[in-house]
């Protein structure tokens, strides 16, 4: 038993390279797939929790889109005038991507980190911290992808998708999820107890409410507009709304770059922090 090296099962590992933080190493090795596999195993037996997230977008679109549109008239966006549901749908898609990503990366990660000690076992196998981070990110994106898809189906069904450009909202929603997932994970590594989540909510709720999701940025005074423009959710909302309406501007490339960089920085920070926490 002991004399047979487990060589046949260990082929093709990236060994030393994964210890350095390079963009490639941020993606982990192909073993990261097993981290995704773990989550599939878990949710295979509790798929109902996945399904609940599936219906959430319908509720949002129906309640806010249809409900509010009877009170709010058409809105002017740039040169165009659009109905309220059309205006609000891409904003809701961005917020929903944010919420989904944050739930996984904060509450779920914190539980696995502090209570379930999930990663202690994982790190005693050939998987590395980079694999854990990449795998959890992969799972988070899979899940967000599923929700974004259902949201977009709902948008299409309700006639809120304005142009065929709207299909591009899908990868963009994933980009929003990526950025928030990464920042969420990095933040979670600093949390000491459930109480600290109050602070997290203190950041999320105002962002959700004030990031021009429900009304145009122009309702704010100039200084507040400037503040809101800095928030990551505004970047996501602006990106998705512009795409949905088919009115592209150079600023949108900036929004996308902002989210991508935020995500990469968050991933690198998460890796460094988890390494220190889990492998002291």
């Amino acid at each position: 038993m002991s004399t047979t090296p487990a060589g046949d099962t260990t082929r093709g590992t990236t060994s030393g390279t994964t210890l350095r933080i390079t963009p490639a190493a941020l993606l982990g090795s192909r073993r990261a797939v097993h981290m995704v596999e773990r989550n599939v195993y878990v949710y295979r037996r509790s798929w109902i929790f996945l399904v609940s997230g599936f219906f959430e977008p319908f509720f949002y679109l129906l309640s806010i889109g249809i409900g509010m549109s009877s009170l709010v008239g058409p809105l002017r966006v740039g040169a165009e005038t659009v109905a309220y549901p059309v205006f609000v749908a891409p904003g809701l898609l961005a917020s929903s991507a944010m919420n989904g990503a944050l739930f996984d990366s904060t509450f779920n990660l914190f539980h696995k980190l502090k209570f379930a000690h999930t990663y202690d076992a994982v790190l005693s196998t050939p998987l590395t911290v980079a694999d854990v981070v990449a795998g959890e990110m992969g799972w988070s994106l899979l899940r967000s992808g599923l929700y974004a898809l259902s949201f977009m189906c709902a948008m299409a069904a309700l006639g809120d998708a304005r142009t065929s450009w709207a299909a591009l909202c899908y990868p963009e929603a994933l980009l929003v999820a990526f950025a928030f997932s990464a920042v969420g994970m990095a933040t979670t590594t600093y949390l000491r107890g459930w109480r600290d989540f109050e602070m997290v909510m203190l950041a999320i709720v105002p962002m959700f409410l004030f990031s021009a999701t429900f009304y145009p940025l122009s309702v704010y005074p100039g200084w507040l507009q400037a503040v809101v423009r800095l928030t990551p959710l505004y970047q996501g909302v602006a990106l998705l709304r512009g795409t949905d309406l088919g009115s592209f501007q150079w600023a949108m490339a900036g929004h996308a770059a902002y989210l991508a960089i935020l995500g990469l920085v968050g991933l690198a920070a998460t890796r460094a922090r988890l390494g220190r926490l889990l492998l002291p």
């Binding site: 002991s2 487990a6 260990t10 073993r31 097993h34 773990r38 076992a121 005693s124 050939p126 492998l279």
Partner: protein
Amino acid sequence: MVAAARGTPGAVASAAAPSAGAQDTALVVARGLVKRFGQFTAVGGIDFEIVPGECFGFLGPNGAGKTSTMRMISCMSPASGGTLRVLGMDPATDGPRIRARLGLVPQEDSLDLELTVLDNLILYARYFDIPKAEARRRAASLLELAQLSERARDKVESLSGGMKRRLTIARALVSQPDLLILDEPTTGLDPQARHLLWDRLYRLKQEGVTLLVTTHYMEEAEQLCDRLVIMDHGRFAAHGTPLELIGRYSTREVVELRFATPREQADALALGETAQRMEVLPDRILLYTADGDAVLAEVHRRGYAPVSELVRRSTLEDVFLRLTGRRLVD
């Protein structure tokens, strides 16, 4: 006593492997290994080698540095100084490749509570890139070995402490490791579960699996370990086979005497001259000697009447307490 059978000749100067040239084949080689956490030195420069097929024990009180050493060997904690080679590789750069060939049983069970017993094994095998069909096959046979086949579909949460421990050991074996590292495998188990586990470990050893065990059950160490080190304050206080250690640091037998009153016990202190060494505890006197019956006869001849008297063989526990003291360690 298993260790005697494998007996290594004479006293060893360091915890180096018994046979010459063992360095080339040793699974683990440590030289001046150090682990620091900030100002605190958990492991203060230790040297040892672990050769294929042996059971090597780390004994020591809490905080002696055993777990830190285990974590460094399992590439889950970087060394702060010295050199460490595991399976011929450097843990700092070859972590994944080394861990691919290790089986780890951590001190605290780290089973995946969200999964079933069977899925825990299958998924752990998947972490080692073992194909699914093979993972299922191994999981089934390991569940049998761990006597958990009937609980395969249950959630881990519902298992008893002993079952969880057995599952953790089964999990560590799913990758068919060259070296099995067990950090206090039997702590917190009831005697039945403990004996069942010893039995399993002994069988694994017979199958040729190299074992690295930390424990503070001296009985466990005496039965399982071919060689062991006693660690205290991050250093080795002693090393050798269990029999060597008993021979070197204790006597063949121990006479334990308990007296009715502290005054009687105080009077009995003169008995120290009848033995090689005497230890006075709050409630009894221990006389270390080669011939317990002779000492006991002398005790009676001198007219002492202890309320209880016991002649027993010296154990590793006597060695352990002598070397690490009787003070309480937290």
